[in-house]
Symmetry: C2
Subunit: 383 residues, 2 copies
C-alpha cells in the first residue's frame, strides 16, 4: 500500500508509540472509581491526582484549577453556559462577547444562549488577517457584559490572538467580567505556563490534540471562579463536573502533559517544514494563503487556489495519499463555507473552497514535497 | 499481601482480561477523527459505526437510536435538560416527575431545573420496599407534565422497578409525555432488547458498569424523539452531541455490548452467591436487609446492623480486605444519609449507617464467606 501522509493534526493527533500500553500499565494499580473510599478507590484517586498535577503544571497552576471534562467542547459549553446561567438566575439579562471566528463549540453555544434569550451576544469582528484587535474588543464590551471568549490559536488558520493583552484590556474596561480562552490549538505548541499568573479566568483544552486519548480534556479555571456546573449529579471533581471519572483519559492526559513540559521548542522542526511550504506556495499564481503569516503558528496553512473547487483539491490530495481537511474538520461532515474565512472578509467562493494543512510531531520535510506536487499540478494545469 | 475482595460492582467494574489490548488493536486501523472525510477519518467512522451497531442491539434498536456520551451522568443531564428546555423555550412552565429514589445524576438535575425555575418537579414517593407503584406515578402526572424519569434497577438496593408497566401507564394518562429510564444498573444484568419496541423514549447507560472503559456511555432514544443538545458545537453524533468522539471508549463499549449479547443467564452464578448471603444474614439479630428481596437483583445487598455505625462496619470490611460501599459510592466522598433509604421510610440513623454489597462477574462464593465472617463478628460482639 502507498505510504499515507497525515496533514490534519489540527483535527486530531496520533498518540506516541506505546502510549496506550503505558496508560493501562499505570491503571493496573487500580480499576476502581476514584470516588470510592476503599483501597481500589484510593489507588485510583492517587493516579488521578498525579495526572491532575501534571496537567495543572501546563498552566503554571495548582491542581484545584483543573476540572477534567470529556474534552474542549464540553469545557466551552460548561464555561459559557455556566457563567451566563448564573447571571440569568439573578434576573439579569447578561451580554457576552465572542470573536466572530471562534470554534463551533463556542460559536454554537453563544447562538443557543442568544436564541433561547438567556443572553445577548456580540460577535466581535476579526481583522482580515485573522486576529482580534484590542479596540474592536473594547468597543464590544458594555455595562451588561459578563463574559468575553477569545480563541488563542485559530483552528482553521493557525493565527494567534494576543490573548493576554486582550484579557488585560477587557478587565481594564470591566474588571469583573470573565475572560475565557479556547486554548485547544495552543496547547503543546505555545508555552501556557504563564496562564496561572495571568488575568485569564478559564481555558479549554483537549488531550487528543496533543497525542492523548480522545474523550478527555479539561477546563482550567482560577480556583476562585464559580460556575454553574453543566453536568449535575454525584458531585465529582469537587462539585464542578459530575460523572465517574474517565480514568484512562485522565492518566493519558497526565502523561502527555508531562511529556509536553519536558519537551523543548516543539515547533522548531515544523517551522522548517512550514517555511519550505510557504515560500514555494505563495509564489504560485492564483494560490492564496489566508491569515497573517507573521502571527501564524507553523502548524497550520490554510489556502485556496482561485478557480479550483475545494472538493477537487481534496480528491487530488486523497488520491495522492495525503490526508488534509477542508475548512474545520471538527464540523462533522459539513461543507458549509468556512465561518472563519467569511469573518476575515473572504467571498463565499473562497470560504467554501479552502484547504487546511496542519502539521505535528510526525510531519516530515518529505511531506511538504508530496503536498507541493499536488498543488503544482493544479496551478500548472490551470496555467 | 492479603487477597482483596471486590464487592462494589455497582460503583464500577473491572474490564475482562485483555480488553484494553483488544480495544487498541482495533483502533490501530485508524487514529483519525470519525468526522474527517479522509482515509483516517473514514476508517475511524467505520469502527465507530460497528460499535454503535452492537450497542444498539442491546436495546433491540437501530444504530440511529444511540447517541454516545461521556457516561450516564451526561445522558441523564442531556435528557432531562433537553426535554425541559424545549418546553421552557415555548413559554410553557413544564412539570416533570421523578421518583424520590433516583440516582443523583437525575435527582440533582431535577433540583437544578426546579431551583432555576425552568420547571416544577414532583418527587414521586416509592414504596417502603423500594419500588414505585403505578398509582403513585399516575397521581403525580398532571396536564403540564412533560417528562417522567424512573430508575430501572436502584443502584443502592438493587430493587427493580416495573419500568415497562409504569411507562405504559404514564403514556396511557398523557400520551405525549417523555418517559426516561436510568438503566445504568440494569444493563448486562437484565435483558434490555425489548426496549426498542416499547413506549420508553430514552434510556441512559454507562459502559464502565459492564466492564467497559470509564468515560463512555450513551443515551438510547427513539429516533423520532427530539431533544435540545447539552453539548453544542461541531454537530457530531448527527447533531445530538458535539465533541470529537471518544474512540477508545466507543470501541470498548461495542466489544462489551457484543459480549453481553452473546452471554446467557449472566445472573445465575450471582443468584447462588446472593441466596447464600441472604439466607445467612437475614437470621442474624439486629441485621436488616433493605428492599423487597423478591424484586431485588442478586447483584446488590443493602443492610444495616442496628446499633453499629456504618463507619465501623466499613473499617472492619476494609481491614478484612473487602471493598464495599456505604450508601451510593457515586456520591463523591459523601457521607450524607442515603436519600434512597430515607425515601423508603428508614430513619436518618439507618440511612446514614447502611452498607451496600454489590457483585459481578468476578465474585465467588468464597467472597460470601469472608463477608459473613465480618458481619457475624459484629452481631456476636453485640450479643
Amino acid at each position: 500500500m502507498k505510504q499515507l501522509i497525515y496533514a490534519d493534526y489540527n483535527a486530531t493527533t496520533p498518540s506516541p508509540r506505546g502510549h496506550e500500553d503505558q496508560v493501562f500499565e499505570i491503571l493496573q494499580a487500580s480499576f476502581g472509581s476514584p470516588s470510592s473510599i476503599h483501597h481500589f478507590g484510593r489507588e485510583a484517586k492517587r493516579l488521578m491526582e498525579d495526572a491532575r498535577e501534571n496537567v495543572a503544571k501546563l498552566f503554571g497552576a495548582e491542581r484545584k484549577s483543573i476540572v477534567f471534562t470529556s474534552g474542549a467542547t464540553e469545557s466551552n459549553n460548561f464555561c459559557l453556559k455556566g457563567v451566563v446561567f448564573q447571571h440569568f438566575k439573578k434576573g439579569e439579562r447578561p451580554h457576552i462577547v465572542i470573536t466572530n471566528s471562534e470554534h463551533s463549540s463556542v460559536h454554537n453555544v453563544a447562538k443557543f444562549l442568544e436564541g433561547y434569550g438567556f443572553c445577548t451576544v456580540t460577535y466581535a469582528p476579526i481583522h482580515s488577517k485573522g486576529f482580534l484587535e484590542k479596540d474592536t474588543l473594547l468597543s464590544a464590551i458594555n455595562e451588561r457584559t459578563v463574559l468575553v471568549a477569545i480563541i488563542y490559536v485559530n483552528n482553521e488558520t493557525g493565527v494567534v490572538n494576543p490573548v493576554e493583552e486582550l484579557a488585560r484590556a477587557a478587565k481594564g474596561k470591566k474588571p469583573n467580567l470573565h475572560v475565557h480562552v479556547d486554548g485547544v490549538q495552543a496547547l503543546g505548541k505555545l508555552d501556557c505556563t504563564w496562564i496561572g499568573r495571568s488575568v485569564i479566568d478559564s481555558v479549554s483544552v483537549s488531550a487528543h490534540k496533543v497525542g492523548g486519548l480522545k474523550g478527555i480534556g479539561c477546563l482550567y479555571k482560577k480556583p476562585e471562579v464559580s460556575l454553574l456546573p453543566l453536568l449535575h449529579g454525584g458531585g465529582h471533581e469537587r462539585g464542578w463536573r459530575s460523572g465517574t471519572e474517565n480514568m484512562p483519559g485522565i492518566v493519558s492526559f497526565g502523561l502527555r502533559a508531562k511529556a509536553i513540559l519536558e519537551r523543548k521548542e516543539p515547533l522548531n522542526h515544523l517551522r522548517t517544514l512550514w517555511n519550505h511550504l510557504v515560500e514555494r506556495m505563495r509564489v504560485l499564481p492564483g494560490l492564496e494563503i489566508h491569515g497573517d503569516l507573521s502571527r501564524c503558528l507553523p502548524t497550520t496553512l490554510n489556502f485556496t487556489i482561485h478557480g479550483v473547487a475545494g472538493e477537487e483539491l481534496m480528491l487530488r490530495f486523497e488520491n495522492a495519499g495525503i490526508a488534509v481537511s477542508s475548512g474545520s474538520a471538527c464540523l462533522s461532515g459539513g461543507s458549509e463555507p468556512s465561518r472563519v474565512l467569511t469573518a476575515m472578509g473572504y467571498s463565499r467562493d473562497v470560504a467554501a473552497n479552502s484547504i487546511r494543512l496542519s502539521f505535528g510531531e510526525g510531519s516530515r520535510i518529505e511531506d511538504a514535497e508530496a503536498i507541493l506536487a499536488v498543488v503544482r499540478g493544479f496551478v500548472q494545469k490551470k496555467g
